[in-house]
Subunit: 433 residues, 2 copies
Amino acid sequence: MAKEQVNVGVIGAGVVGGGVVKVLMESAETIGARTGTKIALKKVADLDRSRLEEFGLPDDATTTDASQILVDPDIDIVVELIGGESPAKEFILEAFKNGKSVVTANKMLLAKHGPELARGAAAGEVGLKFEASVAGGIPIIKSLSEALVANRFDFIFGILNGTANYILTQMAENGKDFSEALEDAQAKGFAEADPTLDIEGHDAAHKTLIIASLAYATEIDFSDVYVEGITRISDLDVQYADDLGHVIKLLGIIKDDRDTGELEVRVHPTLIPKNYLLASVKNEFNAIYVRGDVTGTTMYYGKGAGRFPTASAVVSDIVDLAKDIRFGSVNRVPPFVFGDRRRIRDIMDIECRYYLRLTALDRPGVLGQISTILGEHHVSIDSVIQKPVPKGKDVAAMVMMTHRSRERGLRAAISTINALDCVTGEAMVIRVE
Amino acid sequence: MAKEQVNVGVIGAGVVGGGVVKVLMESAETIGARTGTKIALKKVADLDRSRLEEFGLPDDATTTDASQILVDPDIDIVVELIGGESPAKEFILEAFKNGKSVVTANKMLLAKHGPELARGAAAGEVGLKFEASVAGGIPIIKSLSEALVANRFDFIFGILNGTANYILTQMAENGKDFSEALEDAQAKGFAEADPTLDIEGHDAAHKTLIIASLAYATEIDFSDVYVEGITRISDLDVQYADDLGHVIKLLGIIKDDRDTGELEVRVHPTLIPKNYLLASVKNEFNAIYVRGDVTGTTMYYGKGAGRFPTASAVVSDIVDLAKDIRFGSVNRVPPFVFGDRRRIRDIMDIECRYYLRLTALDRPGVLGQISTILGEHHVSIDSVIQKPVPKGKDVAAMVMMTHRSRERGLRAAISTINALDCVTGEAMVIRVE
């Protein structure tokens, strides 16, 4: 069964792919000695020849044609790092058909087609690993799939998007408004030219879905994951959250309701108390906070993106697969194990506390009117901060924290409140955990 | 090669062992389904029959004679949870000889006899796992041995003893003195009746040695690990550290000096800035902060002790070994891979900043005299806090932070300073990182 050396082909030599190539070129030998498993970089493919030339690899070790890697009988492991749905999916499925194991960092593909990929790997009797798809250099996939197997998870909270976390941290700590903080993130390379996936929460949602699928052994449709980004968060909200002893984070939230059997899987800006450990996770860092019934609370922290943190995760997957190939133990840790499909709770049916920010005319009885409407929808107010009316204005900001309430009632109340004459503009609503 | 079901024998049914038995009794089936590997609890041994009776297991599944587990041909995995050096070591070596893989949480044994145990496992062609030996429910062993294989580590800092961390947290947050905090820890079950191993730093040192051996692939003699406990830390030090924007933690510190090839492996109370993430690790929690050259910084946080967090780690090791047995991939991840032996730096040769607390007569020129002596030993002062002289006394506390200095010079300076007439009592010295 034993195979002397395991050969790797890398498709995609961009930021992460280039990092993987560099790590393998520099450290494959050391890693081999430390892990007892010889790994060799056989070939790198990229459409852009100039990227390939940078590595100084021999001519026959680079190609602009990915299929040269997919059909090469000497290659045991294909590393897919081109991202996006197509042709990444086709490449991976072809690799499986050709008996090759795959490492990918492609969270969008896994979130949308994870079960199909898992079936493809099983059919080809090969492995599929994706540590780098969630939280870059943090070994959360391995921790959930292997280290925490004794647990049922009560809840999992994740700061899973470094761009969004960088923006929110800059708003909180340096008083920037959203667009200044976004520009700063782009200048520092923490946000892409088109930051939509990051700031609208989709990237965090892909990762949250992957975590939930692993932790609860269930297939989940991406359309069942509630997603709300950070673009509506204003510097006022960040300031008021601070006054209330909280910070605002874009959280992936997964909760198990054992009574109803429903699972909550949602991504949205969230107020959390400043003394929570997650509140100390700043700038481009990611963290996942996990409550298991046996282990209790654990947290995993590190860089969620970037060339080398992500490459580190890819290389650890390569080593794992290389060991499985060497020992003939492929699928020792299957990519996903799906049990019964869990029902995902509708966002209207969740319950939590809410932060509300209203702009209202400075007139007697306004607070009474608002609290009556909230009360009619079974939303009760825990505390109110009423800011002094700015000079020369007749509107004031009113900030409230509610007690635990149901989303459906809250939304109905807010739409009535928004329609009041004394309320100007739309109320801002942020969930609190 | 495939084995249908893997049988487990547990030796030691105390706090952790009892937890493992309970988890296996309740969840072996679920875990089997989730991981595709059937695990069955075959037998539990303890000298104390009353502990065994609690589980309600059939008579033939319990024994007061550990050797019944060690010789049982049906048992594939032996879980050693009796602790201490003997007879734990003999039990483990016998299990290896009888072709059984072993899970242990015995950090003292691993720190003192790790290489011998690793050789025994290799000779028996069986596995040895010990996730529970360091930081309980935190998967730091797996992270270092598998997830972070692409890295060379610049440094690793660990809060590895929950008792010590609980005491220091209570001193800092509730103004307790050392003995009050210790009594509180004992009342809450976070400290044993004899807390020596915890408060003198030996337990943390065992764990630090294990981490260093894994991270740097080297054998280390326990006698080369510098150890200093927290018993001399006074409430004054905790208060002054706070004034200086720091907290005091008992840290395991491992540093790689690539220039000299020396490794620092030491455990002692350490001042760290309050805004470090490790400073937020409070009470009985543990955390390990790791800087790798590829991944950058990652941190792992959770409960470092207690029945169930530790049992969770033991069970994940059982599952890993069960998979290896099922797939015939034993030693896929060897317990230790030792390369060249690294030289451990003498504590006299380390360099860091120092916190000094002196009690000196309130007399002109004292500070000048002290700083002259420090200067003669190449220790320069970064800042000084001189506390007002308490009414009716003629001695004052003087607190200093030095610039980066060498331990040898600092100790020579301190012994000269302690001998000064104007200095009363011994100077308190705490390292700063």
